[in-house]
Assembly symmetry: C2
Homo-oligomer: 329 residues x 2
């Protein structure tokens, strides 16, 4: 009734446990004839090695980890992460250990625990902070890790990243070409590295650009938009740091009777069903493919490859109905 263990196979094949282990793992020390006999018995018994037991003797755990620091409620609306996870899965044969925690301290604690307990072979690091302790932690633990969506190189870690600086510049250029001069930005969390990157790109290509902080929720997007449109000289274009805030912003504009795009142009970062349906001009990147790329990188690092930085393709601006020429005057 129970699943067969290595001992059952050894008994059935008339050899020792050790020989079975060597045979199954394709290592030298057994003859070809013994090996094939063992393999035959194993498959006929429907043998499946126990990852748990294997992990105990410091081998693979057959899983990789991902920790998300979020208030759980807010997570559900962020299609980005689910897309990312789906992409990761497409390139991994192993399982993904996923946990949502509410603080950075818990996150770090969790990584250490997982590693100490041999629960994972490696981890993805997302939402990189400006000065992120994880960048030092991973090499010190000797834990394979890949930074996902950071901005370039990070210490000794492998990294899969997109050029937020260049992307922001391209968005601003698009708006400038349409005649916009008063361009504003609704930013994401200031603690995140990519926010800082986008901030600096924005600051260096827009003179006197107004930046309002947001937190990726619809409420913050609406609030920021109301604030911007209530200014003495309101912007003629707003760039949002994610899709949810942009859609909320578009709604506020509609409520205030500000017509889009003739009076106000709106651009969203990260394309999604939401933008497609709201006909919002959006900076589109293939998040699924991004996740797949990250998974490939992590698998490589776990396999012993030396860490490399992979730059993702530059996000592409998909122009829809929400951006147009700046109003005259």
């Amino acid at each position: 009734m129970k699943r067969p263990t290595i001992k059952d196979i050894a008994a059935a094949a008339g050899v020792s446990k050790g020989a079975v282990s060597l045979a199954l793992n394709g290592r030298s020390g057994v003859s070809e004839s013994t090996r094939s006999r063992v393999l035959g018995v194993a498959s006929s018994l429907g043998y499946r090695p126990s990852v748990t037991a294997r992990a105990l003797s410091s081998a693979s755990a057959d899983a990789v980890g991902l920790v998300l620091v979020r208030p759980p409620r807010a997570l559900g609306d962020e299609a980005f992460f689910f897309q990312l996870i789906a992409g990761m899965q497409s390139e991994m044969s192993c399982a993904l250990l996923l946990q949502v925690v509410s603080s950075r301290e818990e996150e770090i604690e969790l990584y250490q625990r997982w590693w100490a307990e041999h629960r994972v072979d490696g981890v993805f690091l997302v939402d990189l902070l400006v000065s992120d302790p994880r960048v030092e932690l991973m090499p010190s633990l000797g834990m394979p890790a890949v930074v996902v969506g950071g901005a370039g190189h990070h210490g000794e870690l492998a990294s899969v990243w997109a050029d937020d600086y260049a992307a922001m510049t391209s968005v601003v250029e698009h708006l400038k070409a349409l005649g916009h001069r008063r361009i504003a930005r609704v930013a994401g969390l200031a603690s995140l590295l990519h926010t800082v990157r986008r901030d600096s790109a924005f600051a260096s290509s827009v003179v006197d650009g107004v930046v309002v902080a947001g937190d990726y929720t619809a409420e913050s997007g609406a609030r920021a938009t109301r604030e911007l449109l209530g200014m003495a000289e309101p912007p003629t274009a707003i760039v949002y740091d994610n899709d949810v805030m942009a859609v909320a912003g578009a709604e506020v504009a509609a409520d205030l009777g500000v017509s889009v795009p003739s009076e106000l142009s709106i651009v969203a970062w990260d394309d999604s069903v939401l933008c497609q349906h709201g006909r919002l001009t959006a900076l589109s990147r293939d998040t699924f493919a991004f996740g797949a790329r990250a998974a490939r990188a992590l698998v490589a690092v776990i396999g012993g490859a030396s860490p490399t930085d992979v730059e993702d393709v530059l996000p592409e601006l998909v122009v829809r109905g929400s951006s147009g020429p700046a109003p005259v005057g």
Copy 2:
């Protein structure tokens, strides 16, 4: 440098491994003084038990599993699952082992493997089929499991469910009260149990109701809508099985010059940011809370509680701009 093991604690406290194990797990067999000494040593050494090793001697694996059968690409748009996962996480202290596979066979194989390998303590079963082999499999494996979103009771398994039948009836009543007589439905996958439930509820409350099959993608929603609106006597109201198809349907209606809601009423199953923004009348349920409830149920079953069926609150119809009185004549 390595993390301390139970052996280190035993040495430091001057007792045996076994005594440490008993002390740490709060079991009888050691004196209070020894127990407190062991606990002191353990915490001062920063001891963390290895789940891997513990799982090996048939104890808890400290993780639960969820397998999704989907083409990975399509998954990213389904906010439902991510909401659900976020909700589950909110009620679990353990990790979630998540894997996406492409066939039902792989799914079953994976459940068996996880259980045989002590990787999980229990699993969630989603997307229940009309005649689902998993319902028999779980009790035969002795694997704790909770059916999420099935329709009522399932064999010996615990279940957290919503009454799709009553919900569908309430939607139809809403439409009938508005004067609609030609009501159509764009269904989800026919192999899923809840689709069948909704089908039968729909059939018994709508005479001559047309049902078109969809697969939850925007494309299928658009196609179905075009088909329905092209009929000799097109419906005056359409009920969609998810938000993505409903939004796509609304767009098709707009393209065809069919005005919503004066000529066509639209109702979506499962509310989301998408519906909120598209001002679609939607059947709203708190997916996050649903996931949390499922997690509580699974934790209870793992803890040895006898399986029970928990009925979720009836989804509530949130009336927005997309449903209105039937056109006269």
